[in-house]
């Protein structure tokens, strides 16, 4: 069974999205110019936007199907979503943010703190964190809810260059050790090559090209 089954048609104002994708990727990258609809696709998977038609299924778990009248609310979709602006809860400290989603089941907190190197951050206020630190805390918060898929919207955008390596390594370990599949809105072509095994190049709400990360370099 394909891990990702996405058929999303959605209109917002004058802009429309119409994509279809079936694949077994461990990490699926969405790539393309800003305004091509990448974030909207992520939000549709997360349950924050309702497509006008189509099907969204992750690892055999149907989240949305117009035909079958399925539209699970965001809270039962088991997706970990890290938006581009991260949105840590400002009134909670790092620990409280990380633990927010734990209600869904037992997760190895120590392992996660280790993997994302959060040990020294746990008691801090979120307003005192750097871009890279915020990103790691948000990853932990999303993973604590035991997601079936992790949705990441340009996770490197707010991280300064020297720290990107660290986030990238964390993402690879999430993919390979925790075996959580990723849908990843990419900022730069080299990120796609490192993380993704499949990429959808989007333009104007459509898939312009798809395939292995090499397709980005093709003319």
């Amino acid at each position: 069974m394909a891990r990702f089954e996405l058929e999303v048609a959605l209109t917002q104002g004058a802009f429309s999205i119409d994509i279809a994708e079936r694949s077994d990727a461990r990490a699926l990258a969405l790539f393309g110019p800003s305004g091509s609809g990448k974030t909207t696709v992520i939000e549709a998977i997360a349950g924050l936007r309702t497509p006008s038609r189509g099907t969204i299924a992750i690892a055999g778990h149907v989240l949305f199907s117009r035909e079958r009248h399925i539209n699970l609310p965001a809270r039962t979709r088991r997706v970990g979503y890290v938006p581009q602006d991260v949105l840590l809860f400002p009134h909670l400290d790092v620990r409280e943010n990380v633990l927010y989603g734990q209600a869904r089941g037992h997760v190895d907190l120590d392992g996660l703190v280790d993997l994302l190197e959060l040990g020294e951050l746990m008691g801090r206020r979120v307003t005192s964190l750097s871009g890279g630190e915020r990103q790691r805390v948000a990853l932990a918060r999303a993973l604590m809810s035991k997601p079936d898929v992790l949705l990441l919207d340009e996770p490197m955008a707010a991280v300064d260059l020297p720290r990107r390596r660290r986030i990238l390594e964390a993402l690879l370990r999430i993919r390979d050790e925790l075996k959580v599949p990723l849908v990843y809105v990419a900022h730069a072509a080299d990120e796609v090559a490192t993380i993704a095994d499949r990429v959808l190049v989007m333009d104007g709400g459509r898939i312009a090209k798809s395939g292995t990360p090499e397709v980005i370099r093709e003319p």
Partner: protein, 220 residues
């Protein structure tokens, strides 16, 4: 004489505090509904909640007298349960709550509207149901506005006159508040008492509004 003034001041503050407590839950609920939900009749609810701000308070008092009077729809039920309302301290509290509610609702609503909808959405993706989202995200993030709105409502309650005098009267030691007391003392030529109550009223209201403004500023 000063003892009487002290008692009136204390009684007024206690009633205003009780009125604030009474309006808190419905006020927050209505504010949240207006900020976050679309529902049929929303415009009507919006208008109803604002009405006490613009209708003459005496008219609101008369309305309350009808509703809570012995033959009124609510008054009848409450009386059979042994709770008399009209011309008791309870009437003072109800009049104050009704008059203060619009200020709480308006301020709290602005607070909920300022909370980025996406924080709530993130909480949903983390598995939080509507109540958990409300109590752990929306409410704490709007709490400064709610506090400021409560203080405004409390201040309005302190100065309530028109509705109170109709529905509760000016019974010494029973329903006489600062505002009603000032009126009664002035009417009966007891100018010193009136002046004393005036100073007390202004001092309490000044402190409450000052605090409320400060909270509203910090929440921005």
């Amino acid at each position: 004489m000063t003892r009487e003034v002290g008692e009136i001041a204390l009684f007024t503050v206690a009633c205003a505090a009780a009125a604030t407590a009474l309006m808190l839950v419905p006020g927050i609920a209505v504010a949240w509904l207006l900020a976050r939900r679309r529902f049929p009749g929303k415009a009507v609810v919006e208008t109803l909640v604002t009405l006490p701000l613009v209708v003459p308070p005496v008219a609101t008092g008369l309305l309350l007298l009808w509703v809570f009077g012995r033959r009124g729809p609510l008054g009848r039920i409450l009386e059979s349960a042994g709770a008399e309302i009209v011309f008791t301290p309870r009437a003072v509290v109800i009049a104050m709550a009704v008059m203060g509610l619009p200020l709480l609702v308006r301020t709290a609503r602005a607070g909920f509207e300022q909370v980025t909808r996406r924080y709530e959405q993130i909480a949903e993706t983390l598995g939080a149901g509507p109540w958990r989202v409300f109590s752990t995200i929306s409410l704490p993030l709007a709490s400064r506005n709610i506090l400021a709105g409560s203080l405004l409502g409390f201040s309005r309650a302190l100065g309530e006159f028109g509705a109170t005098i109709v529905v509760a009267g000016s019974i010494p030691g029973r329903t006489r508040t600062l505002a009603v007391g000032i009126y009664t003392y002035t009417e009966t030529g007891q100018d010193r008492q009136a002046a004393l109550l005036l100073v007390v009223s202004i001092s309490i209201a000044f402190a409450a509004v000052l605090l409320s403004n400060r909270l509203a500023r910090e929440s921005r």
